[in-house]
C-alpha cells in the first residue's frame, strides 16, 4: 500500500522546514544569571548616586561581579567546540546580536570585576584617589553594559527564523529587562536589604511582568502557540504568576513583613529563571506555526 496521497502534501510528510535550536540548559541559565548581574550593576550605580546605603551598593556590585564570573563558563560549555571560545573575539559584528552580546559581556565582566575590586581596595586601603577613579569609571561602564546585558538576549532570540521568537522580537527585550530587574532586586532583598526603594523597584518589575503576561495571554497570534500549549504553556504561565501577580500582591499588601518580602523575592527569582526557560523552550518546540 502506498503512503497517504493528497493533492497538496502540506507540509512535506510533516518533516519540519526549520531546524530547532541546539542550545541546552546553559543558555536559559546564562540569560538569567547575566541579566540579573546586569540589573544589579545598574542598581549599584544608581543607588550610590541617589541615596542608597554603602552596604547596598557594595552587595549589588558583588552580585554583578559574581554573575559576570559565572556567565562565561555557562556560555563556553554550551559551545560545540568549547576550546574555540576565543574565536568569539575574532570580529565584532553589529548585525549579529550574539557578537554584540559577547563583547558586551567582556566589557561588563571587566567593569563589574573592577568595581568589586575597587570596593575591596576601598575597605582595605581607604578611599585613595586611584581607587575612587577606578570605582567611578567601572561603575558607570558596568551599569551601561549591564543595561545591554539584561535586554540584548531578547534581541538575540528575536532576530531568528523561528516564528515564536521573531514575532515577539519587540516583546522579549522588555520581558527579559523586567525579569532581570526583578531578580536583581530580589537577590538584594534576600541578602537583607529590605528598603522601600527596593520594594518600589520590585513593584515596578512585577507590574511590567503582569502587563506582559496579560498581553501574551490575550494577543491573537498563531505564532504564540508554542508558548501557550502543552507543558511549555504551563511553564510559561507558572513563570508569569511567579514573577508578576504573586510577588506584586505580597509587595503591596505586606511590604512590612520580612517573611512576605522573602517569599516575594524567592518567587520573583524562580519566575525570572522560568521565564527564560519557557521562551527558549517555545522556540525549540516541535510544532511551530
Amino acid at each position: 500500500m502506498l503512503v497517504e496521497m493528497t493533492d497538496d502534501l502540506q507540509p512535506y510528510y510533516g518533516f519540519p522546514l526549520l531546524k530547532r535550536a541546539v542550545w541546552t540548559w546553559e543558555i536559559p541559565s546564562y540569560f538569567f544569571v547575566g541579566g540579573t548581574a546586569g540589573a544589579a550593576a545598574l542598581i549599584a550605580a544608581v543607588a550610590r548616586r541617589s541615596g542608597g546605603s554603602d552596604a547596598l551598593v557594595r552587595d549589588a556590585r558583588w552580585i554583578a561581579a559574581a554573575g559576570a564570573a559565572l556567565s562565561p563558563p555557562l556560555l563556553i560549555s554550551d559551545l560545540g567546540r568549547p576550546e574555540r571560545f576565543l574565536n568569539m573575539l575574532r570580529v565584532f559584528k553589529i548585525q549579529s546580536p550574539m557578537s554584540v552580546g559577547v563583547w558586551t559581556l567582556v566589557a561588563f565582566s571587566s567593569a563589574a570585576g573592577a568595581a568589586a575590586f575597587a570596593d575591596l581596595a576601598h575597605r582595605t586601603s581607604g578611599g585613595k584617589l586611584p581607587v575612587r577613579i577606578v570605582a567611578d569609571a567601572s561603575e558607570v561602564l558596568s551599569a551601561a553594559t549591564g543595561l545591554v546585558l539584561s535586554t540584548y538576549t531578547g534581541v538575540l532570540l528575536g532576530a531568528t527564523a523561528i516564528p515564536v521568537w521573531s514575532r515577539n522580537a519587540r516583546v522579549m527585550p522588555l520581558h527579559f529587562g523586567a525579569s532581570s530587574v526583578g531578580a536583581a532586586v530580589s537577590t538584594l532583598e534576600l541578602l537583607g536589604h529590605r528598603t522601600r526603594a527596593l520594594n518600589r523597584i520590585g513593584i515596578g518589575a512585577c507590574l511590567a511582568e503582569t502587563a506582559l503576561a496579560l498581553y501574551l495571554e490575550t494577543r491573537e497570534d498563531e505564532a504564540l502557540t508554542p508558548l501557550r500549549d502543552g507543558t511549555n504553556g504551563q511553564l510559561a504561565r507558572a513563570a508569569s504568576v511567579l514573577s508578576g501577580p504573586l510577588p506584586l500582591a505580597l509587595r503591596i499588601l505586606a511590604s512590612r513583613s520580612p517573611t512576605a518580602r522573602r517569599v516575594a523575592a524567592l518567587s520573583t527569582i524562580s519566575g525570572s529563571l522560568l521565564t527564560r526557560v519557557a521562551w527558549i523552550q517555545a522556540g525549540k518546540a516541535e510544532k511551530q506555526p
Binding site: L2, V3, V46, S53, G80, M88, Q95, H193
Partner: protein
C-alpha cells in the same frame, strides 16, 4: 564569476547520485539507516550530514477516463512522482552569515556562503538564523555544517560534485545571470507543452534578496517544504533593538525614581 545552481525538478529522476557524489567528494559522514516510510525519502531533509537531499512528492492523478474500467482500482491509486534535489540556497542576504559571531561564515568570490570549518566554534546561532532550515550542528563534531557550494572545486575551475554527477542535467551549474535566463526559457517551454504549474523558485522579491540556488518545479513551494516568503532574520533587528532601548530607558528611570523618591531612608541592614 558569480555562480549558481539551477535545479530543474522536471528533469530529476530521483536517482540520488547528487547525494552520493556530495558525500563522497566532501567526505560527509553517513546519516544512518532510518526508514521514514515517506515515499523513497529516508533522509527527510537537509542537515549537518546531508547537503543534497532528493525529495519525493507523490501527487494523486486521475486516470479514470484513461484506463479500462477493469483497472479502476489501479486508476484510483494512480499518482505522479515529482522529485526535487534540495540544497543550501546560498542566499543573497544570508541569515546564517549575518548571525555568525565568529566570522566563520563568509561570502566567497563565487557568491556562495561558506562555513570556514577551522573557525566555527559551534555556537549554534546560524541554525536558528536560517529561514530554510539548512544549517545544523553535527553532534559528534560540535561544528555547524552545510553545503560548501564545492568551494574547493570551484577554486580550481571544476563544477560542484552534485552537478557533475547528475545524469539528467537536472542540476545545472553556471553563471547566475545566464542560469536565470535559462530558467525563464525552460519554464516558458514547459508551459508551452501544457505543464501550466511549472514555476521558478528564486525569492528575489523577499528580504532574502534572491538565492544562488534556483529551482524549477511544479506546484507551490510548500509542496517541496520551501517557504513561499522566506525572511532574513536581520529584518527583526531594528524593532528588537528599539524595544531593548525602551526597556533600558524604563529600567534606568524606574530605578532612579525609586531611590530618589525614598531618599531620606537608610538601608535596613545598617
Amino acid at each position: 564569476m558569480i555562480t549558481a545552481f539551477l535545479t530543474d525538478s522536471t528533469l530529476c529522476i530521483g536517482c540520488k547520485a547528487c547525494e552520493v557524489a556530495c558525500k563522497e567528494w566532501n567526505a560527509v559522514p553517513a546519516d544512518g539507516f532510518t526508514f521514514t516510510g515517506a515515499s523513497y525519502d529516508n533522509t527527510a531533509g537537509l542537515g549537518h550530514s546531508t547537503w543534497r537531499h532528493v525529495k519525493f512528492i507523490e501527487r494523486a492523478i486521475d486516470l479514470s477516463g484513461a484506463v479500462a474500467s477493469a483497472d479502476a482500482g489501479y486508476a484510483s491509486n494512480a499518482f505522479r512522482w515529482d522529485f526535487s534535489s534540495d540544497v543550501c540556497k546560498h542566499c543573497e542576504n544570508a541569515g546564517c552569515l549575518e548571525a555568525c559571531p565568529t566570522g566563520s561564515i563568509v561570502r566567497t568570490e563565487f557568491g556562495g556562503v561558506f562555513i570556514q570549518p577551522d573557525i566555527c566554534n559551534g555556537c549554534g546561532y546560524c541554525i536558528v538564523a536560517c529561514p530554510f532550515g539548512v544549517v545544523d550542528r553535527r553532534p559528534e563534531d560540535g561544528r555547524a555544517f552545510k553545503c560548501t557550494f564545492c568551494y574547493d572545486r570551484q577554486k580550481v575551475g571544476l563544477q560542484p560534485a552534485c552537478a557533475t554527477a547528475c545524469p539528467t542535467q537536472s542540476i545545472q551549474f553556471g553563471e547566475i545571470g545566464a542560469l536565470r535566463e535559462k530558467a525563464a526559457h525552460r519554464v516558458d517551454e514547459l508551459r508551452a507543452r501544457g505543464i501550466d504549474d511549472a514555476v521558478i523558485y528564486d525569492p528575489r522579491d523577499t528580504s532574502v534578496g534572491g538565492t544562488h540556488a534556483l529551482f524549477i518545479f511544479r506546484g507551490k513551494p510548500e509542496d517541496y517544504n520551501l517557504p513561499s516568503a522566506p525572511e532574513v532574520p536581520t529584518v527583526h533587528l531594528k524593532p528588537a533593538w528599539q524595544s531593548a532601548a525602551a526597556a533600558a530607558g524604563m529600567m534606568l528611570a524606574g530605578i532612579a525614581f525609586a531611590f530618589l523618591s525614598t531618599r531620606p531612608e537608610r538601608s535596613a541592614s545598617e
